[in-house]
Symmetry: C3
Subunit: 307 residues, 3 copies
């Protein structure tokens, strides 16, 4: 079985293997499953990047994609996630990709579902393929994670990106800095040191900005977008203090002019769109691992057995 | 023309042929249409199982699927179903699968549309591919329908499954029992005898439970879920009274703990997930029949003619 | 780069080439891109015809289609159209088709996006593939546009069809008549002469009706559907005054009994469903032009560069 729920569950060797595979896919490496295979993407929250990126990765691997529309599914009739996934397994889907608003939704599937489940984001929990694409982008730039300083800036507490990345970056040898308004600090995340934004920007090799969910937080913080940008964002002025060869990452969608000055999104230091390109390659690698590791419904055409 | 609107319109020979074909597809039989073909699935009501099952069946037959999203279609601008289907025919779609909230919606299409229409559920009317997958599952278990007793239990009146199944099972030689709260009896359906639930469960070779649409009915019945389960559901206690070799069917989505005890869903007697698997095979058979019987827009590339 | 935003930006030679290609596709001409290619259809407004027609055209050309659901996209989180398209470009989409409610939405993309953008309708602006399919249908009937009289009837002011067609038909040598209630005349469109409906119908070789968006306009006009039909619609009586060999066009969806008598929709003179068939062929031609003219993300596998 080759589920992927969180990067914390993978060893450094496994992570490195995924990055190697992704790198190869980026160079045009061709790999296909040994027989026709079917996947479904279950997105219970809006997404452009992650959803389209998985769709692209799946097609590049020659997988058949069974469309699934959460709004038009039996989830509307109260069906549990377990029963929905079990249904897809029964009709012959070989792997599922899931984004869900509930933290750790996958625990109800972990030991019960025989096809691989790939986590595309759980609530305020984890987002392992986003972490992998961040790692790939950093590795392409610096060749290693050892002795790098990565500053993660913004709403640390509600970010699955912060949670996933801080742990794995630390494990890979990098130093993690956090910078965040007081309200968004995350006491439960021990993998970074809090510094003010100017320090974070000046010391980091990688300035990793998080998306401000301003539709939710703005009033609470009592700041306008402009005030937030000036106080906590990557302004043009701050960007000038960045180290030589340092880069800017952002999981997107970007709030231009809030967490980052609009001009910086496509500037020399930005790897934001490169991250998106890399997202396809890491997802190809994750799907390959899922297929090789555990397409266990080879029993599909056999007599049904009680689990 | 090979529409499929209701099983009542098919002879026993035709039904048997569909089941034979489905059985073969389950064993890996490979069949493809003689040229590239295009289908569209028009679902105007939520569905996971039926929609995904058709999508899977279509891909296994190598059909191209043109996505259709009812919420984003011109139906929102007031277009009739006839004009929508006629449009799809005009752009080259070779067959359509339709689920619609209106009883017998297909009457406006029956003599006017030249491509096959497959009914995936009409209002409180019929659901022929659900019946076929029930039949296939029963036949795999018992080899025949003669002398079998099938108990259909739950909301008989509002169920298209009850309506479709009772008629065809009777025709195929089975005896049908109904069991239902008084309010949900269906005077218009003459193909079964009403008995209390304990009798139904004890006498049946096949215990076919229907989904309780509790979001609609709960208050009306004046019962909590637990009360309903105790009085009309397949409880663990009742399940112990089932005959040797008898099986449990349910069209799903299941309300665990309402019409059936949660533990029974994946028990030895349950064929609920087997039904879903069989759903793909019967839909492959139905699509094959549609394609072989009436892909009449071979005139597609010819000069358009007034109908 | 082979964007297609408006027909006004194309020369007569280019338009003629597209019509020739479409004609060939209608006759079964087989053309495929030289390597696997990916497109996405971004529809921010409801559509059956145009969306399904593009989907069909794409599949007939062997393109891979990456599903995009505006309601479930990051546009819901406030992402700009530019950033959304840039994202799709980054993940490897080779061309995008866009329908958007905003007039000239494409100006933000024109010089910034390196993959072809095909306009499938912008607000009350343009709808070039609809124009092309109208042109193809007219050309199939009359062989030329010279000396033809085309009457465009209905809500001229809010119609992107009227705007696109009047200009290009005039350029191709046809005479354009407009007929419209006073409130819906369009002073800004100089390519037609206003006449009353009876004159328009009697003089036209092509009677091109526009869809009445009666859900928006009915009250404003102070007319019932029946009154509108009698005063401004193509009634059965008016249709009898049509010239020999003249034809009826309508972009659909049709309001039967409002802008056109229901019986006329599938009458001898109607080419309404023929238009839909032709829509697939012109879209194949437009996609072929886009692919041949400018699939510029050949740099996809190369090192990312700042724009």
């Amino acid at each position: 079985m080759a589920h992927l729920f969180t990067l914390s569950e993978l060893s450094v060797t496994e992570i490195t293997q995924l990055l190697e595979d992704a790198e190869q896919f980026g160079k045009g490496y061709f790999w296909r499953p040994p027989k026709p295979m079917f996947v479904a993407n279950l997105f219970f929250e809006p997404s452009t990047r992650t959803k389209c990126s998985f769709e692209m990765a799946e097609r590049k691997l020659g997988l058949h994609v069974i469309p699934f529309d959460a709004d038009m599914s039996s989830v509307q009739k109260g069906e549990t996630l377990y029963d929905t996934v079990r249904t897809l397994e029964s009709i012959g889907v070989n792997a599922v990709v899931i984004r869900h608003w509930e933290d750790a939704y996958f625990e109800s599937l972990r030991h019960a579902i025989r096809i691989p489940v790939i986590n595309a984001g759980d609530g305020c929990g984890h987002h392992p393929t986003q972490s992998l694409l961040d790692l790939l982008t950093i590795r392409q730039e610096f060749g290693t994670f050892e002795r790098l300083t990565v500053a993660i800036i913004g709403d640390i507490r509600h970010s699955r990106v912060a949670r996933s990345n801080a742990e794995v970056l630390t494990r890979l040898g990098a130093t993690v800095l956090f910078s965040s308004p007081e309200e968004w600090k995350d006491e439960a995340n021990p993998y970074g040191t809090y510094v003010d934004i100017d320090t974070a920007v000046a010391e980091a090799d990688v300035v990793m900005l998080l998306r401000i969910q301003h539709e939710r937080h703005e009033e609470k913080m009592g700041l306008t977008k402009e005030q937030y940008h000036a106080r906590y964002g990557l302004t043009l002025e701050r960007a000038e203090k960045m180290k030589e060869n340092s880069i800017i990452l952002h999981p997107a969608p970007v709030n231009r002019g809030v967490e980052i000055a609009s001009e910086l999104v496509e500037s020399e230091r930005s790897r934001i769109f490169k991250q998106m390109e890399n997202g396809v390659y890491v997802r190809m690698a994750v799907l390959k691992r899922a297929i090789e590791g555990g397409m266990t419904n080879g029993s599909y055409f056999k007599k049904w057995k009680v689990v």
